[in-house]
């Protein structure tokens, strides 16, 4: 349980720091340095932990969470349209490939973090449903001896069409979840779907709960990626799989230049014309550049405790699927 422990340590440091400052204020030494090795270490820790990147801007860590929240709050309504426009529909293929790599079997418990508008969750449900139907067809064709209970249940339509699979969509942003729920309602997804408001750095789930953890195009927006990875490790069952679909570094120099040109020249314009929001899309393309490349991210995943970590670059490295197992 790394996250709560570090939070406790941090608040402890904060309390000590404020107490020291108060002691210093009383004799009138407002700006005096508390001195001593502990004081100096605390200050340097605070300084290091305070600043981070928001796209190409530098902001404090407290600010980043709020700013990212506002970005997704304003893009939520046009999120899917913009995804199609920006990637020319290719994002659908990427997400399909993620599911294909996952190969869930009926009975899988999936946690989709930063899953906002539900793209991965819906694909998972479709896949599992198709699998289950296929299995039933094969059973009937082979004329296996179905028990009377199973036949009765089938006639009564009581059987779970998903075969016990469940997906929990977790997102920090209320607007994105709202859009996701609307989509689910419109497309008729009801069973096996749960929507939870939660922070990837501090998931509201118990240990060892899920078979698969996915995060698609979400982890680069998290302030502390290592904490998110540790949380992923915590909530997965032993034998569980971590899958991350994220923009990554392009390996071909020519394509890299074209991609840069497209990202920085065209995408903010598309954002302005279609969604009326230049700055959010500027942030999105800049945040892609700030995300570590494939190898570095692989090492970060290994640091969190995952084993057999591999990655697969798609579309010349524009996106990459990282996979790791909790063993």
């Amino acid at each position: 349980m790394a996250a709560p422990r570090s939070c406790a340590l941090w608040s402890y440091c904060g309390r000590r720091w404020s107490r020291l400052m108060r002691c210093c204020e009383l004799p009138g030494l407002r700006s005096s340095w508390p001195g001593g090795p502990l004081g100096a270490r605390q200050l340097s820790q605070e300084k290091q932990a305070t600043e981070t990147h928001f796209g190409f801007e530098t902001v404090s860590e407290e600010e980043k969470g709020g700013k990212v929240y506002h970005v997704f709050e304003s893009v939520a309504k046009k999120y899917d349209v913009m995804n199609d426009m920006m990637s020319l529909g290719i994002h659908r293929i990427w997400k399909d490939l993620l599911l294909w790599k996952m190969r869930p079997f009926p009975g899988t418990q999936l946690l989709d973090v930063a899953g906002g508008t539900g793209d991965i969750a819906f694909r998972f449900l479709n896949y599992v449903q198709a699998q289950h139907k296929g299995k039933q067809k094969r059973q009937l064709r082979a004329q296996q001896n179905l028990s009377w209970e199973e036949i009765a249940k089938k006639y009564q339509n009581e059987e779970d069409p998903l075969g016990g699979s469940r997906v929990v969509v977790c997102d920090i942003n209320k607007e994105m979840l709202k859009i996701g729920k609307q989509k689910a309602h419109a497309r008729g997804y009801k069973a096996g779907l749960a929507w939870v408001l939660g922070d990837a750095e501090e998931l509201p789930f118990d240990d060892d709960k899920f078979d698969v953890y996915t995060i698609a195009f979400g982890i680069r927006n998290v302030t502390h990626i290592d904490q998110a990875l540790q949380e992923a490790h915590r909530v997965l069952k032993p034998g569980g799989r971590f899958l991350c679909l994220e923009f990554s570094q392009v390996n071909n120099p020519l394509i890299s230049r074209l991609y840069d040109l497209y990202s920085f020249q065209v995408i903010p314009v598309l954002g302005e014309v279609i969604a009326g929001d230049w700055k959010s899309y500027q942030y999105l393309v800049e945040s892609i550049r700030q995300f570590p490349p494939q190898e570095e991210f692989k090492e970060m995943i290994e640091d969190a405790g995952f084993e057999k970590v591999t990655y697969e670059s798609l579309t010349s490295g524009i996106v990459a699927i990282h996979s790791g197992f909790k063993l």
Partner: protein
């Protein structure tokens, strides 16, 4: 001394291995804060301006309620016309004062009580009535973002804020028909490509009865008045609230509209 100077100048030189500023800007866009000439300014490359102009023109036609797209079209295409307008303003004494003092027509700068207390028929009263009847507010104008010159950014902002004044001067409501008439007037006065495009393509979305009236009576009237009147952006409206509207119209040579546009729309 020399070492201090060198140390001071070092951050100005680009680091070695740098691709070259032009190529970098083209690929990666301008860095945050760099080249920002006024708050809300977003520096854009020529390619981005072309894409923005094309995209905003298309979107404005597709969805006429996207007023922000019309604004963006004006900003990205209007550089030359804005320069001409700015020079016109500089030559006129009242216009030069506007450029220097940079007044803004916003709810925070308008003294609504004072305007309401003005006599009937004055510019202030008529402007307030226009705002009330059409249920618009001067604060809904988007700030300028894509103009790469700070003075021209003010000029286009002033143009947007004076637009409501023109509605009052011409007696046009804010429905589609009224807006097109005002656009024709503005097109003749300013030569802004956005006004010209709006004037030419706006009527596409009108029904035939409105179109007939527009072409036969309203457009000739608007063009005539636009040609006859001096540059309406040289007027310091904030100092003319007490002036009777009729007198102002006479001063500018604007005749009464040929018919009540509200009845038709």
């Amino acid at each position: 001394m020399a070492t201090l100077l060198r140390a001071a100048l070092r951050p100005l030189r680009p680091p070695p291995g740098h691709r070259g500023p032009a190529a970098d800007v083209l690929l990666r866009g301008v860095r945050h804060g760099a080249g920002q000439l006024y708050p809300e300014h977003i520096p854009t490359s020529p390619l981005q301006k072309v894409l923005l102009a094309a995209g905003s023109a298309g979107m404005a036609l597709y969805n006429p309620y996207r007023h922000d797209m019309v604004a963006v079209l004006g900003e990205t295409t209007g550089l030359r016309a804005l320069k001409v307008l700015r020079d016109q303003m500089k030559r006129d004494p009242e216009g030069a004062q506007i450029l220097q003092e940079r007044p803004r027509i916003l709810l925070s700068t308008l003294d609504l009580d004072k305007l309401r207390s003005l006599p009937e028929g004055s510019l202030g009263q008529e402007y307030l009535r226009f705002l009330d009847v059409n249920r618009v507010s001067p604060d809904t104008r988007a700030p300028t973002r894509f103009v790469d010159d700070e003075e021209l950014a003010y000029v286009i902002q002033r143009y947007r804020e004076v637009h409501d004044m023109l509605h009052t001067l011409l007696g046009m409501p804010t429905n589609m028909l009224g807006e097109i008439v005002v656009k024709w007037f503005e097109a003749v006065q300013t030569g802004l490509p956005m006004c010209i495009l709006g004037a030419l393509f706006g009527p596409i979305r009108l029904h035939t009865q409105g179109l007939q009236v527009l072409v036969s009576e309203l457009i000739p009237w608007a063009v005539q008045n636009g040609r006859r009147a001096p540059c309406v952006f040289n007027l310091y409206y904030e100092r003319r609230w007490e002036q009777p509207l009729r007198a102002l119209r006479e001063e500018l040579g604007i005749t009464d509209p040929p018919m009540l546009v509200r009845a038709l729309a």
